[in-house]
């Protein structure tokens, strides 16, 4: 359940905007932040908060790609697979390496619930290709060694 403080704070914000729909993406992202992913419960809570039907939220949640309607790990690794990163030398090996390092394939989550691996379209760091984004942080010029380092640091962080 969402904390009451959040609910009341949100109600205040909603009252300020003309139409609660304006806030729908923000609310989805915030509720997702709280639950870790946009679970059915999160969705239904968001629907109640915004006064929309569950389906109306689902229509949007399944549209956007950073709303996770399926469980994800604590760190979601978005690996850019658009043309510039893909064209980098050693891109294929890098992807294989990440998969092996984490022991999962694209779209999967590690059993410890720490990492999820998802492909992403160009994340706008083509000058540092290949680039990845973990949660909201972007890492550029990724090579297998650097990737290992990042993963290890995050493991420590958890």
């Amino acid at each position: 359940m969402l904390p009451e403080t959040y609910k009341s704070e949100l109600k205040d914000r909603l009252q300020k905007v003309g139409n609660p729909r304006e806030m729908v993406v923000d609310v989805m992202l915030e509720v997702q932040e709280f639950y870790g992913w946009f679970s059915d419960e999160a969705l239904e809570q968001a629907a109640v908060l915004l006064g929309m039907s569950s389906l109306e939220i689902e229509e949007l949640a399944t549209f956007y790609n950073t709303i996770y309607r399926q469980p994800v790990g604590k760190f979601v690794i978005h690996v850019c697979d658009s043309v510039i990163c893909w064209m980098e030398n050693g891109y294929g090996e890098l992807i294989d390496h990440i998969g092996k390092k984490l022991g999962i394939g694209m779209g999967e989550t590690t059993p410890d619930g720490l990492f999820s691996l998802l492909p992403a379209c160009c994340i706008g760091y083509c000058d540092h290709a290949p680039a990845i984004m973990i949660n909201k942080t972007v890492y550029g010029d990724i090579a297998p060694a650097k990737m290992d380092e990042i993963i290890e640091t995050l493991r420590q962080e958890k």
Partner: protein, 428 residues
């Protein structure tokens, strides 16, 4: 070295602070425009039109004309939306611009808002640019404190507030009308004009959508004048500078502010450090994934909206993606199609179903299952993409069409060899 305007005083790893921005003449244009009583907001529109400022988001529509389409008697509130949903593969100039000088964008936005008398300005930014979004929020706060944002700016009757809206991520949200639907909390399907957003946009109110780079240009045009802006360009019809985001097989990928109309060879050789060792130039996309491949014959082409258009290409966003002789363009195009096929909003048939169809054919060619009749099939389908709902599908078809036009030999080689020549060792 060409004069730097937008990226002038670019600091390494940090943004230009409000003070620094002010020192270099920032917010002067805004101050002058709002305090000079003889200066009418409409004059901004005229100035931008005279300066020949074209939309830098890819469509190259004259900014002044777009502003003029907001009717004088249009209802309020009016909106100005800054499109920072930069998701085109290869494009990252908006990120660099925001992270160089957020105040330049803020000033440009307030001026653009003033020109159409808009009270609410929204920055629609993609989620991957969280750093940029935070920087903007912080600097908007500072600008508000400094009195550049808010009510009765410079004691005029003009109010303007800026809001940062984070997208939850989809390429189509960068399409001007789809962006409006996204802001309204609807599925981001594009809208079909008429009515144009400048007449009935966000919440059916007049809304002007402009690209980050376009907005950044506005203060400079106002400050330094129309003629100065025109002389920045080195081509006949171009005006101003262009921020090129160079990526791919070059030594120094990155953002370079160069005059409109600079030669492609110059960008690659003089600024991006030339091709990678052992690589030869084969092709280049001049403006992101939705533009045509420039073949080697265009290596010395002038990078200007009109020049490229006359040659049958599009400058787009100025995202120069360089491909070398070792890259299989069929596979690269298939990679682009994967992107377009999964980012289609699913609204109209050619885009939703036609792009996966073309992708399937490309994949088959790449995998060695290609047939000669695939080529006319792809050509015909690509030409039909022009009749889709928005500009997404024609953009997606552009690289494929140019692949078949300029690199038909490479495609045929795939078909004849029943496989990718790069993989089965027929090239190198």
């Amino acid at each position: 070295m060409y004069p730097q305007v937008l990226l002038k005083n670019r600091k390494k790893d940090r943004i230009l602070s409000l003070e620094e921005y002010r020192e270099m003449g920032g917010y002067k244009a805004l101050h002058d425009a709002l305090t000079d009583e003889s200066f009418h907001p409409r004059q901004i529109q005229e100035l931008l039109l005279d300066a020949g400022l074209l939309g830098r988001g890819g469509a190259a529509f004259p900014t002044g004309i777009k502003m003029k389409t907001v009717p004088d008697d249009a209802p309020h509130p009016r909106y100005l939306v800054c499109n920072a949903d930069e998701m085109e593969p290869g494009t990252f100039k908006d990120r660099v611009l925001i992270l160089t000088s957020p105040h330049q964008l803020i000033e440009g936005m307030i001026l653009a808002a003033y020109a159409i008398d808009a009270e609410i300005a929204i920055i629609f930014i993609r989620r991957e640019y969280e750093t940029a979004a935070r920087a903007l929020e912080q600097e908007i706060g500072r600008a508000r404190e400094a009195g550049y944002i808010g009510k009765n700016l410079f004691d005029s009757e003009f109010d303007c507030d800026i809001i940062v809206h984070r997208s939850a991520g989809r390429y189509i949200c960068g399409e001007g009308t789809a962006l409006l639907n996204a802001l309204e909390g609807k599925r981001a399907n594009p809208r079909k004009p008429p009515p144009y957003p400048t007449v009935k946009g966000l919440w059916q109110l007049p809304t002007e959508v402009q690209n980050v780079e376009t907005l950044c240009c506005i203060p400079h045009v106002l400050k330094n004048g129309v003629d100065w802006f025109k002389t920045l360009a080195v081509s006949k019809t171009g005006a101003g500078t262009k921020v090129f985001s160079v990526s791919g097989k070059v030594n120094r990928p990155g953002c370079y502010e160069l005059p409109m109309g600079v030669k492609l060879s110059e960008i690659i050789e003089d600024y991006a450090g030339g091709m990678l060792p052992g690589s030869r130039f084969k092709a280049c996309m001049p403006g992101g994934a939705s533009t045509q491949f420039l073949p080697e014959s265009m290596y010395h082409a002038r990078m200007d909206f009109d020049d490229l258009k006359n040659a049958g290409f599009r400058l787009g966003t100025g995202a120069v993606m360089v491909f070398d002789h070792k890259t299989c363009l069929v596979e690269a195009t298939a990679n682009l199609m994967v992107f377009f096929a999964r980012e289609s909003c699913g609204w109209c048939t050619p885009c939703r179903e036609g792009l996966p169809y073309i992708l399937d054919l490309l994949n088959r060619i790449e995998a060695g299952e290609g047939e000669v009749e695939f080529i006319p099939m792809i050509r015909q389908m690509c030409s039909h993409m022009n009749y889709s709902y928005c500009a997404f599908a024609p953009g997606a078809a552009a690289p494929v069409e140019s692949l078949l036009t300029y690199f038909e030999g490479e495609v045929m080689a795939h078909i004849e060899n029943r496989g990718c020549p790069f993989k089965i060792g027929k090239v190198n």
